[in-house]
Amino acid sequence: MKTKQKTTKPASEAPASDSPVAKEQAELFRSVFNKLQKEIQKVFVGQDDIVENVLSVLLSDGHLLLEGVPGLGKTLLASTLAKTLHLDFSRIQFTPDLMPADILGTMVLEDNKEGGHELRFQEGPVISNFVLADEINRATPKTQSAMLEAMQERQVSVARQTIKLPEPFIVIATQNPVEQDGTYPLPEAQLDRFMIKLQVGYPAEEDYLGILNRTTGTQVSDLEAVSNGEEIIKMRQIVRNIPVSEQVQRYAVRLIMATQPGSPYATEAVNNSVSLGASPRGIQSLILMGKVRALIGGRYAVSCQDLCDVAIPVLRHRIMLGFEGISARISTDDLIREIIESVEKLSD
């Protein structure tokens, strides 16, 4: 605030203008969002907040981790989203014997036209616009780490080659809860690369009826690709244009710092039960998701409430509980709710 006040214009010089561009862009964004949401809801019944968050991640240039017990439609949601977009789609079924080369690609020996042999890079399934990493936590950590470079740098390095990944690039991973058999916990470095983590729960009573009607009869829902890569990139640009006031930025910083034990904003519960708090990557995700939230809500600037709304899915996988937290069975969601209540929204 203080540095910005040096460049403050006098009030009389403030431009008197309307903002049709912003209005058009905001309306375009909302229309695309609503279009995708409707198309997904043709197949995926209920769980509107899950769908909204999935689209928010898509439009804010992030990656998504879906967690839930088998049979809740995680894979269906991801594949449905892929079908609604004109994007290259690849699916990787993670198994314990999956190797990094199976994801990234490998050099293969081929016959050339001259009758000889040559090594050629065979692209792996990760080199695609839309990657569905199904049951990602069933692969070994070595294989899971093959996704690290792709998710953050948007490139893969294989055999002294660095291959840029196509834009837009989004990874939607599904996983079963860690307590289930045959699962490996994801490394913290990989968890941090997911913008949000959504926990898919059981549908509501009415949603069960919808699922039955749509899946057990002869009715087949035809999905259409209502958007493409270019439009997605444009939407991502609109999202980044949303201004964030210093008050909101400070609030975001306090929220992130409050997850870190030992910080001045950390609550007693955080100090006692958290071993690792959210990283700066977490605040980037928080602000980007907040911007999408503001656009969906018909606003042109991010508010503190927007950050509160997205704080739980953004921060829940970035907070690592310590021994005391695990033994006390403290939920990270409850911890985040407590943090939201404790952090002051006023800038001063």
């Binding site: 008197a16 561009v21 912003a22 949303i242 606003r299 508010s303 927007d306 006023l346």
Partner: protein, 507 residues
């Protein structure tokens, strides 16, 4: 959405926020005031408790105590000062900057930080389309809500606690004030006859009185009819003589004030009641004489009407005045520090002279009791209480005279009994002889053995297999052999007897 906003929108927004600024200040002051309620109630309780303690002390020891008016003034000053401090704190701590007011307004009205963001974007001069849209949005929002009240962080006050504290304080005040008419602040112009009536004085040594008072004849004449007998001399140790500088009660403020001549009403009253023996008393001492004279006829009934509490107070007052009459009636009120010192000195002296005969003391006590027309507590026995310390002293402690029983000080301790005497320690008297858990049953039947028939043989008809089997053959020597054996044994025993005789003789 109206996206237009005026050129001088920042100035206009600040003007519009002036209303909110004032509200923020007033709300902040209100918040501080409400927050200070708890402190006020606690402070009032503390003042009430202090007031009550002072009153009780005054009621018990005659110490000076503030009046109810003074306490009310102090309480009022405390409440006003706390309120003034809260107002000052609320005014100084109020967020009076524009963006602070805007933030509070946004939070209070749940406007998604539109106003604060618009002001910030206006100040920063951001001309991006979304910034302009955000400013326009904030401008419109502020126009809609400019008369609304901004956020005030009103704490949720514990009203029940505050009400309870106030009730406690009021109860304490009432209790403290209710003590006033009895003992605290009597009218100095109206002498209270009751304590004077209850004063039990002992006759003074005329020589002593002559030396200390200007009017000994009046004192003697006022006291002799009370006793109805010749005043017996009272043994007083040198420490107990009523010279004011040697009065052991150093903590009594009435004494020091009496010296300086600054008497509070209560002090002057105490000096009045004890003026018979106090030659250095103020003018109040002369006032008490007529009252004593008036009460003379009622004196034989006094011991029955005496209340212990008043006796205590009067005794203390008389002691404070340095009167030797304190010895007479202060037996029941021997808890004061002065008396403790006094008694310790007497006791120390008594221990030094243990061999001295005590018949005279007993006679004196009996006489003084008769003079006071009733049995009085024996003040000669003002020794320390028998210690109830039951810790094992292993014989190191000094054995007291009165220690008896298995407890008490000094010497070896008797047995504390056995564990079975302590409740909760089960000591079995016998051990049940049961080998294994579970119930066992044993039965006995009287059955006579009956021979069972057998196809081979029966037990009754069973005979030995050979005739030698059931007979015992003995050795029977011949007569010659028996004779030889007899001779041999006689010879053998004779040799043994000779050997034993020789051995004894050699030894």
């Amino acid at each position: 959405m109206n996206q237009d906003y005026p050129i001088d929108s920042l100035t206009q927004m600040e003007t519009m926020l002036d209303h909110g600024r004032r509200r923020v200040i007033s709300a902040n002051i209100t918040t501080e005031l409400r927050a200070s309620f708890n402190l006020i109630t606690r402070g009032v309780i503390a003042i009430a408790i202090l007031f009550l303690i002072l009153r009780v002390l005054a009621w018990s020891f005659g110490t000076p105590s503030p009046s109810g008016l003074q306490i009310i003034t102090i309480t009022t000053l405390f409440v006003i000062s706390v309120c003034l401090f809260a107002i000052y704190k609320g005014y100084k701590g109020a967020a009076t900057k524009t963006h602070q007011v805007a933030e509070r307004l946004d939070i209070a009205q749940e406007t998604h930080n539109k106003v604060a963001t618009a002001i910030e974007l206006l100040k920063s001069g951001d001309e991006s389309p979304f910034a302009q849209a955000a400013i326009s949005d904030g401008w419109k929002t502020l126009k809609d809500i400019q008369q609304e009240e901004p956020l005030s962080n009103d704490p949720e006050l514990p009203w029940t606690t505050i009400a309870r504290n106030l009730l406690i304080a009021i109860a304490l005040f009432i209790t403290a004030i209710s003590l006033t008419p009895k003992n605290i602040l009597p009218d100095p112009n109206q002498p209270n006859p009751t304590p004077i009536n209850n004063i039990v004085t002992t006759p003074l040594d005329p020589k002593l009185i002559k030396n200390q008072t200007d009017k000994p004849s009046e004192a003697e004449s006022s006291e002799t009819p009370n006793t109805g007998a010749k005043p017996s001399p009272i043994k007083i140790s040198p420490e107990a003589k009523p010279s004011p500088p040697q009065t052991p009660n150093k903590n009594n403020p009435s004494k020091s004030k009496g010296k300086s001549g600054n008497h509070s009403p209560s002090e002057s009253r105490s000096s009045k009641s004890t003026s018979k023996s106090s030659s250095s008393g103020s003018g109040g001492g002369s006032k008490s004489k007529p009252s004593d004279k008036k009460q003379k006829p009622a004196k034989p009934k006094k011991p029955k009407k005496q209340k212990p509490s008043k006796d205590k107070k009067d005794d203390k007052k008389s002691k404070n005045g340095g009167s030797i009459s304190a010895r007479g009636a202060s037996g029941a009120s021997s808890k004061s520090s002065a008396q403790n010192e006094w008694s310790s000195k007497i006791k120390a002296k008594a221990e030094d002279s243990e061999d001295a005969p005590q018949d005279e003391d007993h006679d004196d006590d009996a006489k003084s009791e008769n003079l006071r027309s009733g049995v009085q507590p024996s003040l000669k026995n003002r020794s320390a209480k028998v210690s109830r310390d039951l810790s094992l002293s292993k014989g190191k402690g000094k054995k007291q005279k009165k220690s008896r029983g298995r407890g008490g000080p000094g010497g070896g301790k008797k047995s504390r009994g056995t564990a079975s005497m302590i409740m909760g320690v089960p000591v079995p008297g016998f051990v049940k002889g049961r080998l294994l858990p579970g119930s066992t049953k044993s039965t006995q039947e009287e059955i006579k053995p009956t021979p069972k028939p057998s196809k081979y043989f029966t037990a009754s008809n069973l005979k030995s297999a050979s005739p030698k089997e059931n007979t015992q053959e003995h050795f029977r020597p011949s007569t010659s052999t028996a004779f030889q054996a007899k001779q041999y044994l006689i010879k053998y025993h004779a040799e043994n007897e000779n050997k034993t005789k020789d051995d004894k003789a050699s030894k």
